[in-house]
């Protein structure tokens, strides 16, 4: 994982870690100042003055990941399972100065908890930064097509 240098491979790898619930490894893919953003509306310009489904820094992501380990996370009895199906990621832009690479990845995502499942789809935007230990995710922004639907619980990471 630490030697990932191919941005497209990293996008696939991130989805795999999520779907295999390797959350500690997944968490380590993110930079310290990372943001995981799932806007509530289409074209939402801002996550501070407008509610999102997720707008999480590393502390909030850590709370989620650690909560999964608690025997008292009652809503995770039984555990939820997620599956991302990604269309081939495309490099959208590369910043020559910083090396920041932005990728666009359309996807389907199903999250299932026994008899209840929720199907989400949309486009994931990964902002990747080169670091001494390989590429890291600075921001993942997940634009859902059904962001405005009345939704049941979404407990993992679309």
């Amino acid at each position: 994982m630490s030697t990932l240098h191919d941005p497209i491979a990293l996008v696939y790898h991130e989805a795999r870690l999520l779907d295999e619930q390797r959350f500690d490894e997944w968490y380590a893919l993110y930079t310290d100042d990372a943001l995981y953003w799932v806007p509530l509306t289409r074209g939402q310009p801002d996550g501070l003055l407008h509610t999102s489904l997720l707008y999480e820094d590393k502390l909030l992501l850590k709370i989620r990941v650690e909560r999964f380990k608690s025997p008292h996370a009652f809503a995770q009895q039984p555990r939820s399972h997620g599956q991302h199906v990604l269309q081939a990621p495309q490099v959208d832009s590369v910043d020559a100065a910083t090396g920041l690479t932005v990728l666009r990845t359309p996807f389907f995502y199903m999250e299932s908890q026994r008899d209840e499942s929720v199907l989400l789809s949309g486009v994931a935007w990964h902002h990747l930064l080169p670091t001494a230990s390989g590429l890291r995710i600075r921001m993942k922004k997940v634009e859902l097509v059904n962001c405005d639907a009345a939704l049941p619980s979404i407990q993992l990471f679309p």
Binding site: I63, S153, Q155
Partner: protein, 444 residues
């Protein structure tokens, strides 16, 4: 079926002073009766007038499962219309909100048009109605406009039933919670801002409403969520400023003594709030610039009094719950006996710095979103009740905690914060409004 329809005694027998029968949550028939009686006899929240700021603006929602339109007319008055064409019944407006094209409501099916006050403006090929009894029919009256409507400081409520308690009789002093939320704006008014979360719950609407002042659950149900936040923050030095998210999560795992001391206040008709003396919102960091603006707007003493009220949840039974201290509301939109849509709406305090809206938006996302770890555990418990209550051997739900027979005399008062008295008060109101009311004026 028909265990309860036309059997008012059977309905009343579902509620005892300190217990309720499971059918209040499980029976589709009781749900239908709730929509016909309780939700028609009482005042139901529709929306906020800032959602329709200019003439011709509309916002659509439901009242007691019926689709309605909140609409601002040519005269700037906000009305609530049934979202139904007078002709064959098609919903006139399907978008969640917008502006009426040409300041008219136009049916998408046969092109009947209506003015913003609901009256018929035009019907295509109208001569086809010549010589018919159309002019005497309900259809000729246009769209049904709800007559019992109250815009209270921007909050729009309706009562579907022709007669019943007046708005003021029904809510009484509980309106002080709305007052406090509005007064927190240096500009003296609120604006809906920051989007609406729509969280689908597979439970009866009452489970959600009862939970709002259920102070015995946070330390248990939210232990994993807020407890994890607490644990992760525990290693930080005291000098490190708490992030807002940590500040908002931590009180959810306060101990019983905290919630007991908070106190719960009841009014008649099922309304209540917890956080009489202090609340989970009391320890948020000072907002210096905002407090200065408040002092400029109200004077130091009044500003201190307004900001000193940090009520937790106020329940405007049966449809609305508000958090004045952070300007967030949640609305119960019942769908079926075991299905409820919970909408979370946030407000901007007009004249306050953006940071206040940021705090509101963060709270509603962390606690009330379909993606909220706190919301997940609440919803899990509601569903667990919805399913567990189907078991035989015990058909009753216990609401005995701190029950005192003196409650028979009246529910209004301040109680121990851990008491289940708010739920008993809700069911007292439930039983009262589940029956036909006496004509106007005799119902207070």
């Amino acid at each position: 079926m028909d265990k309860y329809r036309n059997q008012p005694d059977a309905v009343q027998a579902l509620v005892r002073e300190d217990q309720v029968h499971r059918d209040v949550y499980l029976s589709p028939e009781v749900f239908a009766l709730e929509m016909e009686h309780l939700w028609r006899n009482t005042w139901i929240y529709v929306g906020h007038d800032s959602q329709v700021p200019t003439s011709g603006d509309f916002y659509t929602t439901t009242v007691a499962t019926q689709p309605v339109i909140l609409l601002r007319g040519e005269d700037a008055v906000v009305r609530v219309l049934m979202n139904r064409c007078a002709h064959k019944g098609a919903q006139l407006v399907s978008a969640p909100s917008g502006q009426c094209e040409g300041h008219l409501l136009r049916c998408p099916y046969h092109g009947w048009t209506y003015r913003l006050d609901g009256s018929v403006r035009s019907i295509p090929q109208k001569s086809g109605y010549d010589g018919t009894a159309f002019a005497d029919s309900t259809a000729a009256q246009g769209v049904v406009v709800l007559q019992n409507i109250k815009n209270y400081r921007g909050f729009v409520f309706v009562r579907l039933a022709q007669s019943g308690p007046s708005f003021e009789e029904y809510f009484g002093d509980s309106l002080s919670s709305i007052d406090n939320m509005v007064d927190r704006a240096p500009g003296g008014r609120l604006e809906v801002a920051g989007g609406t979360l729509r969280y689908l719950h597979d439970c009866n609407w009452k489970m959600f409403i009862e939970n709002l002042n259920d102070t015995m659950h946070p330390m248990v149900a939210h232990e994993a969520a807020a407890g994890t936040a607490k644990k992760l923050w525990a290693g930080q030095p005291d000098t490190m400023p708490k992030p807002m998210a940590v500040e908002q999560f931590l009180p959810f795992v306060n101990g019983y003594a905290f919630f007991e001391g908070m106190g719960v206040k009841l009014w008649e008709n099922g309304h209540s709030y917890s956080g009489v003396k202090f609340s989970i919102h009391s320890q948020y960091a000072a907002e210096g610039e905002y407090e200065t603006l408040m002092e400029q707007a109200y004077g130091a003493e009044r500003a201190r009094a307004i900001l000193g009220e940090v009520r937790h949840n106020t329940v405007y039974y049966p449809s609305l719950t508000i958090k004045g201290a952070i300007q967030a509301i949640r609305i119960a939109r019942p769908i079926a006996h075991d299905k409820t849509l919970i909408e979370s709406v946030t407000f901007r305090l007009v004249g306050a710095p953006d940071h206040l809206l940021e705090r509101t938006v963060l709270y509603t996302r962390l606690i009330n979103a379909p993606t909220s770890v706190v919301g997940h555990d609440d919803r899990h418990c509601y569903r667990a009740m919805q399913q567990g209550l189907a078991t035989d051997g015990n058909e009753w739900v216990s609401l005995h905690r701190n029950h005192d027979p003196v409650e028979r005399e009246g529910m209004a008062g301040v109680y121990n914060g851990l008491s289940e008295v708010s739920m008993r008060g809700q069911f007292r109101a439930w039983a009262r409004f589940m029956q036909p009311l006496k004509p106007t004026g005799e119902s207070a």
